[in-house]
């Protein structure tokens, strides 16, 4: 067990993957001589050389598509896109090619591609650098969508994603890079949600950067006599229904905390699944805490107001108890 940051955990995962498999290479804008826009790949160019730590021009659609081609051609590319907002320039390749080729070719071809990108708000980067669009990606059949929130997942999910025969997108919340913690040597899967805090009164369902706010909210709730269970989705597609529904059936209450916008969100999807499957177990309507439906504004007070925060999570959890608790 060593103390390290989330950033270091991702970097270590990259190093281990590059060492483990000759076919693995990293490509993206400024991953090499700049050291990565969030410094994740710092030092890798020196260690692995420009063939395998491949700087690309500003051509998101081009190099993501090239990643798809390289995966088809027998390599195991890791494509880094600086920020989810820029991934929209590559959305065509991700949606129309990466996600479709296996099915469209009748199973003849598959795309073992990993795409990593930063997501989320909180650094006052305003409306073209701050969004959380992983819920959109989770809409697309044919890809897997991961949201590591812990050091173990930041490290372990990359290897698991590379071992997967299909395209896997990994969303790294920008507010987590500096988060420090310890890494255990447990291997992680990319199929299940995790219960990060056991509780019996209510289930709080979240992922990514909101996990830590939700755990904090759970402590506040505990101090007020409400014992919350916190589920970290980890895998946004496919969703681990069993863990989610099992917990809600047990606690009979649920609030979903999602940094995406509310309308048409992942939170909406989870809420619908709860209603479809465990409606008769519920003691209260499912609650949601999402980002306000605005492009993320620059000033701190407005950015804070737009995002899910601890007091809002606490209030939403309490609201499911009406006035009784």
């Amino acid at each position: 067990m060593t103390e390290l940051s989330y950033r270091d955990a991702v970097r270590q995962a990259l190093i281990d993957a590059l060492n483990a498999d000759e076919r693995v290479f990293l490509m993206g804008e400024d991953v090499g001589s700049y050291g990565g826009c969030y410094a994740v790949s710092k030092g890798l160019l020196e260690e692995f050389g420009p063939e395998r730590i491949r700087d690309t021009p500003l051509s998101e659609s081009g190099f993501t598509g090239a990643g798809i081609g390289a995966a088809l051609g027998g390599l195991r590319p890791i494509v880094e896109i600086m920020t989810v907002n820029f991934s929209l320039l590559a959305l065509d390749q991700i949606m129309n090619n990466a996600a479709t080729i296996r099915h469209m070719s009748g199973g003849q071809f598959n795309v073992p591609l990993v795409i990593r990108m930063a997501t989320g708000a909180g650094r006052q980067l305003a409306a073209q650098h701050s969004h959380s669009l992983e819920g959109w990606y989770a809409h697309i059949p044919g890809i897997k969508v991961l949201a590591p929130a812990t050091i173990d997942d930041a490290y372990g999910m990359l290897g698991a994603a590379l071992a997967d025969p299909d395209p896997v997108l990994i969303f790294e919340n920008v507010m987590l890079y500096n988060r420090a913690g310890t890494r255990s040597d447990t291997t992680v899967d990319i199929t299940s949600a995790a219960v990060r805090r056991a509780g019996k009164d209510i289930t709080l369902i979240t992922y990514g950067g909101s996990l830590w706010k939700t755990l904090e909210a759970a402590e506040v709730l505990a101090s007020e006599g409400i014992d919350a269970e916190v589920i970290d989705l980890r895998v946004l597609r496919p969703l681990d229904d069993a863990t989610i529904l099992g917990s809600v059936a047990n606690t009979r209450r649920a609030v979903i905390i999602d940094e995406g916008w509310r309308s048409g969100s992942l939170a909406a999807e989870i809420s619908a699944r709860i209603m479809e499957s465990v409606f008769w177990e519920l003691d209260a309507p499912v609650g949601r805490v999402c980002t306000a439906e605005v492009p993320i504004p620059y000033p701190k007070h407005l950015e804070d107001a737009a995002l899910p925060q601890v007091p809002g999570i606490v209030a939403a959890a309490k609201a499911t108890f009406g006035t009784t608790k």
Binding site: Y34, N85, L125, A126, H129, V294, Y298, P299, L302
Partner: protein, 331 residues
């Protein structure tokens, strides 16, 4: 000014002082911003234009007040040179309600309707299609106007660059494309990102008239811009200018500049646009050392006022958060 007069650059004492003052205004404004950034008054990303001031300074006088400007996230210089009030720009840097974008945009998203300043776009290449559309509207509505679109050489790698150049040329639209080639896109040197490093030839391949010009010389910059704008107004087709320049500072405040040496920066600083023009104009007898001193004083007063204005500014009330997402307010 008559069109013919506007097309030529007549350098006299008056406009020499104007150009020098504008470059100094931009430089000192940004130096102040860097300082305010370390004090955490300005947050988020801050991209400085230091070293590149001659371009915005030289291009804007070639435009009319009803022309349009589209810029990038490195746009403080363009905003000031276009005539946005410094107070409103500084307040925007702070995120204050009195800022030119109501505080919501910050450094990367300066907008200003009165001067037809269409942003501050932080998606590389994202501004080019918008400029094409503005020009298309002008053409279809019969307005005799030009849209000036600024972007870095990094944008030349994006598909939107190529799509936009082709559209503008195909439809003969009045767009002035201005590539500010400072040799680096973040940490990526031009030769490491382009098979053809001569950017202006790319435009030529789409049949745009294009030129490559020393962007460190404000006189050359302006002369080329006037020539280009005159050509656009004459036959209503696009024009491409590549200005060769250099960014003296880091890409943003988060950049350790591992990709270039300090010597290279020093070399360029020595031929920087301000020293170069100032020394030339003094030697030519157009201006005097005392003029420079007077400009510095005036500019420093203006900046102090802008900082005071921003400091005194207010925060937009949180209840206004969802205002202007769409007209009317219902989300």
């Amino acid at each position: 000014m008559t069109p013919a007069k506007k097309a030529k650059l007549h350098l006299n004492r008056g406009n020499a002082l104007d150009r020098l003052k504008m470059m100094i205004r931009i430089r000192r404004f940004e130096e102040k911003c860097a300082e305010l950034y370390t004090q955490e008054k300005i947050r988020g990303f801050l991209h400085l234009y230091v070293g590149e001031e001659a371009i915005a300074t030289g291009v804007m006088p070639a435009l009319n007040t009803d022309d349009a400007v589209v810029a990038t996230y490195r746009e403080h210089g363009h905003a000031l040179a276009r005539g946005l009030p410094m107070n409103a720009v500084m307040a925007e840097m702070y995120g204050k309600h009195e800022g030119c974008s109501r505080g919501r945009g910050g450094s990367m998203h300066l907008f200003h309707e009165p001067t037809r300043f269409y942003g501050g776009n932080a998606i590389v290449g994202g501004g080019l299609p918008i400029a094409v559309g503005l020009a298309l509207a002008d053409k279809m509505l019969g307005h005799q106007r030009v849209t000036a679109c600024f972007f870095g050489e990094g944008a030349a790698a994006e598909g939107e660059f190529h799509e936009s150049l082709n559209l503008a040329a195909l439809w003969k639209l009045p767009v002035l494309f201005i590539c500010e080639n400072n040799l680096y896109a973040m940490g990526t040197a031009l030769a490491r990102s382009e098979s053809e490093t001569d950017i202006h030839t790319k435009a030529a391949s789409y049949k745009l008239p294009s030129e490559s010009i020393d962007g460190m010389n404000v006189v050359n910059v302006e002369a080329a811009a006037r020539r280009a704008v005159a050509a656009i107004r004459a036959d209503q087709g696009p024009y491409f200018l590549e200005y060769r320049t250099y960014r003296f500072r880091a890409h943003s405040m988060f950049d350790a500049q591992l990709y270039r040496g300090a010597d290279e920066t020093k070399e360029w600083e020595a031929k920087g646009p301000i020293v170069r023009f100032r020394d030339w104009a003094v030697t030519a007898g157009l201006i005097h050392a005392a003029d420079v001193e007077a400009i510095e004083q005036e500019v420093s007063g203006e900046i102090a006022k802008a900082v005071a204005f921003a400091e005194a500014g207010t925060w937009e009330p949180v209840r206004e958060l969802t205002r202007d997402v769409i007209a009317g307010g219902k989300l």
